[in-house]
Symmetry: none
Subunit: 421 residues, 2 copies
């Protein structure tokens, strides 16, 4: 089965947004072992969209279109798909009922434009949208299939995972599609891409199936191990020994795999140890708390986050000593230590985590340059601190500092597990 991707939206052709949907879908389809040979982008223009759709359907079995399903006049995907595939448009009653309920709940006017989203090609299977109002659809006619999803990434992803991938997976299986490409991503914190690559150079060189490819993310490295095999189980069997060797070499730097975030892993460790956490932030401004609370259920272990941006708030809210600030400054090992201790005390938490640093672009000196960050972790056995020097713009420094603080916390929890084990 050949699937191709069609991104619809003039904003993509004006360079106003980067098409991350296509990369996401391409990755998911290759995991299914589906061949994706083409990806096309057209604007919100009926004639050109119809022409592109005809080209796509001419050479592939399935066209997966994203974008152009919203409420505005520019949103023409459903109409063009119906026209090219020779069917009428009809109102999907379940979808329009959902939109009516949505408008009623929020007390907003039930505009025609909202209801337009419930219109789909006749005979199409509706793809429910669990996080928005515009449904998608799957329209199969003779040997060709058009799938349409909204362009909003969160909606597109939810609908892909819930409906489209199971649908395509079933079709691929029914067609006897016997090879899959399967990847496992090992998530690495605390070292950079070139260091990771150097430690694995011989492995990367020798491996052909699976292959190993390092990717630098803003604040961590992902090692993608990709195998091609008859099915997922065989692919996993090819990957397992390579993964074990990577983990052996990189130790605790490999903190998780695939979609596991550092904050989710930490959440699991805190929960199973029955420990609570409080965070004192300065240069990260609340980002660590934001990441920790992105994990569902984090209210079980996260008691409070105190972002003490001013010296006064460090003194008053965290009990950092005035003499400490006077002698060492707000950006210092000593302040980081007192912040970690202070926040665990203020929030009555088992563990305190702290960050203080200079995110820039101003505020740096030759002794304390932009990017200098101190991290602290405190628990019943004492406090540890770390000095790191980070590169990048303000946001990158914040993101990297938050990641290293979480990594410091992770290592503490890991050592505790091993001590207990």
């Amino acid at each position: 089965m050949q699937v191709e991707l069609l991104s619809v939206g003039t904003e993509l052709l004006l360079g106003q947004i980067v098409d991350t949907n296509a990369a996401y879908l391409a990755g998911k389809l290759s995991e299914l072992g589906v061949n994706v040979y083409h990806k096309t982008t057209v604007g919100d223009n009926a004639e050109r969209l119809a022409a592109a759709l005809r080209i796509c359907l001419g050479r592939s079995d399935v066209v997966l279109a994203t974008g152009g399903l919203g409420p505005t006049k520019d949103d023409i995907t459903a109409a063009v798909v119906a026209q090219v595939m020779g069917v009428r448009l009809i109102e999907d009653e379940a979808s329009s009922a959902k939109i009516r309920a949505f408008a009623r709940e929020r007390g907003i006017q039930l505009l025609d434009s909202l209801l337009k989203q419930a219109v789909v090609p006749e005979g199409a299977q509706v793809v429910p949208n669990p996080v928005g109002t515009a449904p998608g659809f799957i329209l199969a006619r003779e040997s060709k299939t058009a799938i349409a999803l909204p362009g909003v990434p969160t909606e597109m992803r939810a609908m892909t995972e819930q409906t489209v991938l199971p649908y395509l997976g079933q079709r691929a299986e029914a067609e006897g599609n016997k090879s899959v490409i399967f990847s496992r991503v090992l998530r690495v914190a605390g070292i950079g891409e070139s260091q990771a690559e150097a430690e694995l150079a011989d492995l990367i060189e020798q491996q052909t199936n699976p292959t190993i490819a390092p990717y630098a993310k803003t604040y961590e490295v992902h090692l993608r191990v990709t195998a091609k095999a008859a099915n997922r189980r065989e692919a996993e069997a090819l990957i397992a020994p390579v993964e074990a060797e990577i983990r052996r070499r990189m130790g605790d730097h490999v903190y998780g795999a695939d979609e596991e975030t550092l904050e989710a892993i930490i959440g699991g460790m805190l929960t199973s140890a029955g420990l609570t956490l409080a965070v004192a932030e300065s240069c990260t401004g609340g980002l660590i708390g934001h990441r920790i609370t992105n994990v569902p259920g984090s209210s079980e272990y996260f008691l409070a986050g105190l972002t003490t941006y001013s010296n006064e708030s460090k003194i008053k809210l965290l009990g950092v000593g005035e003499d400490t600030l006077a002698a060492h400054g707000a950006v210092s090992r000593e302040t980081a230590r007192e912040m970690a201790r202070g926040v665990s005390r203020a929030a009555s938490a088992d563990i305190g985590l702290s960050v203080t640093g200079i995110a820039g672009p101003t505020g740096g000196t030759s002794a304390k340059p932009v990017g200098l960050v101190y991290l602290g972790r405190s628990d019943e056995s004492g406090a540890v601190t770390e000095e790191v020097r980070l590169r990048g713009d303000r946001l990158m420094i914040k993101e990297r500092a938050a990641q290293l603080a979480l990594f410091l916390l992770y290592r503490g929890l890991k050592a505790r597990q091993e001590g207990a084990g």
Copy 2:
């Protein structure tokens, strides 16, 4: 002149990298006033690349291809372009001399694969590569032109700016194409895409130059006003009255333009009014503080952020009444009010901002469902609160709640400005 983009590379079809080159080129071309109606991606396969190239050259004047010019066997763009356009491949001597010098300087072996990069279609204008070894080329045959650049973003960008844009700009001018496309983005908070569109429906309908297009972002709406004119000044003159009319209709909902974020605008307002801010967060977990501190210089007005995730921390750190929590619950108007007051008191700030709500996926009840959020703002003149009901997953609810809290703060600062004015 119509230009289209062709990205070459199997890694793009496997979803391993996001195609940022295409977005960059599309943006640059639209600034030149060049129409880009199509963008295509194919893998490193000669047959499919040739077929795609024929489709592109059939409908556009110029095809701008990126990728597939490197040293490996997979790099086939030069050969396929030559074949499709009916010319031979020749060695470009300036390029091979440069590659030889490069290898000599670095003491690396002069492999055939390195020299392969100097091979270009006969009759092509070579596009020098100031930051790498692979040159690009511009091949014009009859009325059609193929341009090929390497896929490495730094190389592609340097070559585009140095050679390709001047070339296309000259051609556009020679063809009497004297127009540029210029856009202004008006940033809208506090209302949804369909409501924004409804208020502007007649304008959107009537306008042809400039056009008005609404785009839904995760937590705000962008109205893109795009004009085509002989030069940027004329485009801006076309946009000005339309912008004024949009602002008249939408009032304070239009909080900024282009790259101005809500947090940056708030920062400017706080600075010019000489006011300080403290934030009490619950369901947003620190995200509001993170956004506020993304603005350089925010340490001038942001004193502290207290993320009080537990009831105990709300009582202890913010002074929320135990009786308030018992009578109304943590997610209530009353708690939001006491949190805003409490945080401004705790941090000695002029203004307190608060959020408390249920981000889900669990923790909702029929009386207080997931997505129910209360916002509070407190200053010397008193406190205001708002109830909102948000949709989406946990992260979306956090992002939308943070945005609405910032918008509540923005409106308070705006009213203060107008009161003072």
